[in-house]
């Protein structure tokens, strides 16, 4: 993140004044609030389906935007990332804070979980310090009533000097009242706030006043009081912004010496002192306005947790849920997938019948329909997986799943929530990579995205089945099992450990995570969540995958050498007209010649040439040009390796006993050691072009995308090299 650019803020201010003249300017409302405060359900209630996921400044943090027309006012609604605070320690907080400072939304609606006022109001106090008067939405008001908590809204609103509206996001209660108040505030410009509210200790107040009196402090376009507080809190972004300003280093000196003095006098660090003062202020306001019943019954959440996080039952329950999610995603998902596939097939055949046999037809069928078909078949998996994930997140189970699996994942430097992407990878890496979005911290998310492709997906299975069947017929089942379930998972954990010790050394993210009360997810929220993922997948991926499919199609078909075709056609014709051969002999001879022709043509195409050119790269692994070409075609999808091997190894093109003959051919071309090494390469290198693009899209960083590709190929090469050459050293064949 770039430091706060205050000159930019100034420019924005000027622009804003111009805009204020025109009343047609749409209002912008920003929703801010803690994670789990029901902010998203409130956002859904306000905007309905009129929303989209945007990304902010090239970071992976999502900012959702929507619009609503209310009483002829056009309102743009922005759902900021959920945060507990507005310091710049995490990306989410930076994004939320930068939006409020730079974009200057007309109204900040601070969504509050009204059953947990104390912690939720901590963010409110920070908004007030920033000079923003938020509109408080006391959400989950039904739960407040159920829990018999009494809140004197009127008095609290007066004490804090901010308007409060009670809402219930999940059934849209009081949404109109909220918008009404927001519009009123925006029009009356009642959104500015300038009062020292936190009851800071006298020592702190003195320093703040001293800092505010420095003229430069008032030239940044944000509240000087807020800047002073942030300097005392040692906020890195504010520091670097102030440092750049004229006389900035002098201000930093004042702040730093004042901070150490305060810490010396009060015997605690400034951050805690300030936080305690904020909490003290909140406690003061709540003491007069909130009555909570004495808790005499066990809460429902605690009862559910007595099973969900039970020392013995937690894991069986967890694995049951995971099994259900996996089955639903990949087994249930196979039915709509089958329908989509036959739809694509129908389209292909229609084009085949309707168009003459031209290059264009081939491009449409293999390049475009093949490419687009290759994407949409993943759609059912993604829809179902994210339906399940949305239920788990909205209900509060996700946090528990992370709670029980974190110990294992943390050993290799990951987060409990990395478990689900890992597990889903066994079905297909693409939804798995997307599932990494459930991780809050960018580092954890990045690690999970980098590692997820190592898990062996189901598309790799046909390769294992072919090789294990051909080379290890007695142990085929075990070998397939090892590759499909053990080796992939093992490399996931080993690489995670290596990353932890090298690349991400010391980059440990705090786990401190709220375990929210269990809540019934609303169907509407779950559907919106699911649709957003699907839309994102189709829109963001569609174009790129299409381009890649066309490139791959061109490479695997061009250039065409007409000489090869002519010379083989000549040979085939001479066999056909030969009088010495029986018709059976003729057929088998032409079959051999045709497959030879196909092979020669493949060698001439782009992919064949690249594959052959890459032979020296693969030679230390024991692979020749055929293996090299087949691995290259595996970029389309891993199962394509099997079909291209048919072209590469089979001398006869007929369909008769094709599987069996391919196995025999594999056994002829591969020693068991070479085959074993080959299977490892298939396991470890880039899963397929769609997965690759998903990784690039989700990492949102050129540097990390390149790293992802390079490390997977390097890993595949090194492991395969070690197995092949190591095996030869100890005399294996």
């Amino acid at each position: 993140m770039s430091p706060l650019s205050f000159s930019h803020t100034l420019r924005q201010n000027l622009k804003k004044d111009v805009f204020y003249e025109k009343s047609t300017r749409p209002f912008t409302i920003a929703l801010a609030g803690n994670p789990n405060c029901g902010k998203t359900s409130l956002f859904n209630a306000i905007t309905g389906a009129h929303q989209h996921v945007g990304n902010w400044g090239g970071v992976t943090v999502e900012v959702k935007e929507g619009s609503v027309t209310f009483n002829k006012n056009e309102i743009r609604v922005v759902d900021l990332p959920g945060t507990y605070s507005l310091t710049a320690f995490s990306l989410e907080e930076s994004v939320a804070r930068d939006f409020i400072i730079h974009e200057k939304p007309d109204v900040v609606v601070n969504v509050i979980d009204a059953t947990n006022l104390e912690r939720n109001l901590y963010l409110t106090v920070q908004l007030l310090e920033l000079g923003v008067r938020p509109l408080l939405a006391f959400n989950m008001w039904d739960e407040v009533r159920n829990k018999q908590i009494e809140i004197n809204i009127k008095l609290l609103s007066e004490l804090l000097d901010v308007p409060i509206v009670t809402t219930i996001g999940k059934n849209c209660t009081n949404i109109n009242k909220l918008l009404d108040t927001a519009v009123l505030m925006a029009k009356e410009e009642r959104c500015k706030y300038n009062r020292q509210i936190s009851e800071f200790p006298a020592e702190v107040v003195q320093v703040i006043e001293k800092l505010i009196s420095v003229p430069v402090m008032n030239s940044f376009g944000v509240s000087a009081q807020w800047l002073a507080i942030k300097l005392l809190e040692n906020d890195s972004e504010v520091r670097s912004a102030v440092k750049e300003a004229e006389g900035g280093s002098g201000i930093l000196e004042i702040a730093d010496s004042a901070r150490s003095k305060i810490e010396l006098i009060l015997g605690e660090d400034a951050q805690s002192i300030i936080a305690e003062a904020r909490y003290g202020f909140i406690a003061g306001a709540l003491r007069e306005t909130v009555r909570k019943p004495v808790r005499n019954r066990v809460e429902i959440s605690d009862q559910i947790d007595s099973i969900i996080t039970h020392p013995v039952w937690a894991f069986p329950v967890f694995f049951l849920f995971m099994w259900l999610l996996f089955q639903a995603t990949f087994v249930l998902g196979a039915y709509p997938q089958g329908l989509l596939e036959s739809g694509v097939e129908f389209l292909r055949e229609s084009v085949l019948n309707l168009m003459p046999d031209t290059v264009l037809r081939s491009l449409i069928i293999d390049g475009i329909i093949g490419g687009v078909g290759g994407i949409i078949v993943f759609l059912p998996n993604i829809l179902i997986l994210f339906f399940g994930i949305a239920i788990m997140e909205d209900s509060g189970y996700m946090a528990r799943a992370a709670f029980i699996t974190d110990k294992v994942m943390h050993k290799v430097g990951l987060h409990g929530k990395s478990f689900i992407p890992m597990l889903m990878g066994m079905g297909c890496n693409i939804p798995a990579i997307m599932a990494a979005r459930t991780l809050e911290s960018e580092t954890d998310r990045r690690k999970t995205i980098l590692l997820a492709p190592l898990i062996s997906c189901s598309a790799r299975l046909p390769v294992y089945v072919l090789f294990a069947g051909a080379l290890f017929p007695k142990h085929a089942g075990n070998i397939v099992f090892l590759f499909q379930f053990v080796f992939g998972t093992l490399s996931f954990f080993i690489m995670a450990y290596i990353f932890k010790k090298t690349l991400f050394k010391g980059d440990e993210q705090p786990f401190v995570m709220e375990l929210p009360p269990y809540r019934l997810p609303t169907f509407r929220s779950v559907l919106i969540h699911m649709w957003q993922r699907a839309e994102h997948f189709l829109k963001k991926m569609g174009g790129v995958v299409l381009v890649f499919s066309i490139i791959l199609w061109v490479l695997s078909n061009y250039p065409v050498n007409s000489e090869i075709e002519e010379s083989y056609n000549g040979k085939i014709d001479s066999v056909r007209i030969s009088t010495e051969l029986s018709s059976e002999q003729k057929e088998s001879k032409t079959g051999v010649l045709e497959s030879e022709m196909r092979l020669e043509q493949l060698k001439y195409t782009g992919i064949g040439r690249i594959g052959m050119a890459l032979e020296p790269f693969f030679r230390p692994l024991g692979f020749k040009w055929r293996e090299s070409v087949s691995l290259l075609t595996g970029f389309v999808a891993k199962e394509v390796i099997v079909s291209s091997m048919g072209v590469l190894y089979l001398a006869d093109d007929s369909e008769l006993d094709r599987d069996q003959r391919l196995k025999t051919a594999i056994a002829d071309h591969f020693t068991p050691l070479k085959g074993f090494a080959f299977m490892f390469f298939v396991l470890l290198y880039t899963p397929c072009v769609v997965a690759l693009i998903t990784v690039i899209r989700e990492l949102k960083s050129v540097k990390w995308s390149i790293f992802s590709v390079v490390y997977q190929i390097a890993l595949a090469w090194i492991v395969t090299f070690a197995i092949y050459q190591g095996g030869r050293l100890i005399g294996l064949q």
Partner: protein, 81 residues
């Protein structure tokens, strides 16, 4: 305050009620703990340890929060009787 009474949160047992004395640890974790309401003088309840004995769930100011045992070790507490 008797010195011997102070222990770190990771050595507490399920069901214990303790009072926060001090939060050590690096600034990122400290900051996250503070904003979630882990303040000096507040009472914490150790709700339960995860099935694999790490992380630990505690209740503070009405919220349930899970933290790793290594993070809990940075919080000094004293028992509440």
């Amino acid at each position: 305050m008797k010195k011997s009474a102070v222990m770190d949160l990771s050595s507490c047992m399920e069901g214990d009620l303790v009072k926060i004395v001090r939060i050590r640890g690096d600034s990122l974790i400290r900051k996250r703990l503070i904003e979630m309401g882990f303040l000096r003088g507040r009472v914490l309840k150790i709700v339960k340890y995860a099935p694999l004995k790490d992380p630990v769930e505690v209740e503070v100011g009405g919220s349930h929060v899970s933290l790793r045992v290594c993070e809990a070790a940075g919080i000094d507490v004293e028992p509440v009787y």
